[in-house]
Amino acid sequence: MAATSWSRAVKPRKWALSGSKTAVACLFIVATLFPLVWMGLSGFKAKNEVTRTPFRFLPEVWLWENYLQVLQDPAFVRAMAFTLLASTLFALGSLVVNSMAAYVFARLEFPFKRAIWAVVISTMFIPSMTILLTSFLVVNELRMVNTIWVLVLPGMASASQIFFIRQFYLGIPTAIEEAALIDGAGPFRVFAHVFVPMSKGIFVVSGMTMFLAMWNSYVWPVLTITESDLTVIQQFLALFRGARSTEYGLLMAGSTLALIPVLIIFFAFQRQIVQGARLSGFK
């Protein structure tokens, strides 16, 4: 309860100070949410009202057509379901793969550890553009094109996530696992029974990062998915941006609807994110 003890400590000047802080906090919230609220409202606007001069925040007439049209499109529902599945698999898989690697690098000793760590970390700096074409050649040779695996597998092992989780594991005092080790537990059991239960918060943050990376990806699915049954949500939304006219109303409505499942997941894990923040051993 860091926040409360702090505010108790500053009883003098309390009103002015806490008032200005609340104001700053509100400013943060408004500035951050403004573009999104505006996007949601634009979904209610007529085709070209979004870009009309002069600027109006609220729709002239509230139209439900855009939202209804997107919702009634079976392709939208299918794209949402498929993207949800792919993103979930991607996030869960990456947690398993990357947390194990992070633990190994944080706690275990083995030959060539430093060299392997250096190679793993160096992959963090490879621009996606460097391997865009050749990654496509690889997944094509592995016959993964036009399957869910082409989305799920390639980015699953991620140096930045390994680095992120490892930083957290390094901050966990060794005393915590010593008891388990003295009891004769092997390193894997220590990982599974001591580290994993402590990782809830960091897993939620890392998992959400990976989930969103997949949910928002566009360049890679465009290359690898042609089958309309396996279209991801960003590909679906791209169809509203034709060469000769952008269907702003539909695009904004579709984008707003595409946020909803992610926000639901986000709110479900919200407590973990907040608590996880506190558990972090990022020292």
Binding site: A3, T4, W6, T22, V24, A25, I29, T32, L33, P35, L36, W38, M39, T53, F55, M100, F105, L108, E109, F110, K113, I116, V120, S122, M124, F125, I126, P127, S128, M129, T130, L132, L133, T134, S135, V138, P154, M156, A157, S160, F164, Q167, E178, L181, G186, P187, N216, Y218, Q234, T246, Y248, L251, S255, V262, Q270, I273, R278, S280, F282, K283
Partner: protein, 305 residues
């Protein structure tokens, strides 16, 4: 681990070997993934960069020609410098805002802190392409929110995306907006980890807020900053979707970031040699700068396994 080794020195070799096997097993999925989907494609890209290849006729070995072409193209060097400039505008500002956010979230009541934490993460949910489109409309010359706000302040409207002097700066806003959520949460995580008692005693010594941040928060959060700096740098210098959607690199190349230049060559060139060579050179730039940052902020934990 080493406690155990100290206690039972004779078992050491056996434990190490067992640990080695286990370590290999647990590393296997990550190492396989990175090898198959990152290192192997990288090796092939490096191989391809020495060839002229248009997919339908045979590869022609051209030695260093592709690299010479890239280095001889003033647009490439300019785009890398522009990328670094863009990073220099975005990352420090992003860290600063995230720091301010975390400080505020830390000091307001738990309810407000909860609301803040939730809001800050929400923009992360929007894809880069959609965010770019939103900001294109926000930056419209007449009828855009940006100029409406500028007008309220009594200033002249600006051609945010049409003026070479403004376009890159205008793009920092969506870039920061998208990346702010994760940066802030990680920053807050690090901040909440600093024991409250440190601040209490600092306050007793009469240290003000700024001194508390400089002497307590910053040193204790070095690793957080290092992580955010490195990831922020690598992500920002690779940004290309925002300029692609908002300006397609213009006006007059003022938003032609390195990855956008490479992407343009990839899309339009008859041969892929140039784009692959340019991408490898960009890797060299990002890699060496990151290595430099690691070294400068020398963190035992970050560099030593």
């Amino acid at each position: 681990m080493y406690t155990r080794q100290r206690q039972r020195p004779r078992a050491r070799a056996g434990v190490n070997r067992r640990q080695g096997t286990l370590a290999c097993l647990m590393l296997l999925p990550a190492v396989t993934g990175l090898s198959v989907f990152v290192l192997w494609p990288l090796a092939r890209s490096i191989y391809l960069s020495f060839y002229q290849w248009n997919f339908y006729t045979d590869n022609v070995f051209v030695g260093w020609k592709n690299f010479a072409d890239v280095l001889g193209d003033p647009k490439f060097a300019a785009s890398v410098i522009r990328g670094l400039l863009f990073t220099a505008m975005v990352v420090p500002l992003q860290l600063l805002i995230a720091f301010a956010f975390a400080s505020v979230a830390r000091s307001v009541g738990p309810r407000m802190a909860g609301a803040l934490k939730m809001t800050i993460y929400i923009p992360t949910v929007v894809s880069t392409v959609i965010a770019s489109l939103i900001f294109v409309v926000i930056y419209q010359f007449s009828g855009g929110v940006a100029n409406w706000l500028v007008g309220l302040a009594g200033a002249e409207p600006q051609a945010w995306l049409g003026d070479a002097a403004w376009a890159l700066r205008a793009m920092t806003v969506p870039t920061i907006w998208i990346g702010l959520g994760l940066t802030s949460l990680i920053m807050l995580a690090g901040m909440l980890d600093v024991p409250e008692s440190y601040y209490d005693s600092a306050r007793l010594d009469g240290a003000g807020w700024i001194r508390q941040q400089i002497y307590i928060t910053l040193p204790l959060m070095k690793n957080v900053f290092l992580y955010l700096l490195i990831t922020g740098f690598t992500v920002t210098i690779q940004q290309f979707e925002i300029p692609l959607v908002m300006t397609s690199g213009g006006p007059a190349d003022s938003t032609l970031l390195p990855n956008l230049l490479i992407f343009r060559h990839f899309r339009y060139d008859d041969n892929v040699g140039f784009s692959v060579a340019a991408a490898i050179l960009l890797f060299a730039v990002i890699g060496s700068i990151s290595a430099l940052v690691f070294r400068l902020l020398r963190s035992e934990k970050a560099t030593d396994a």
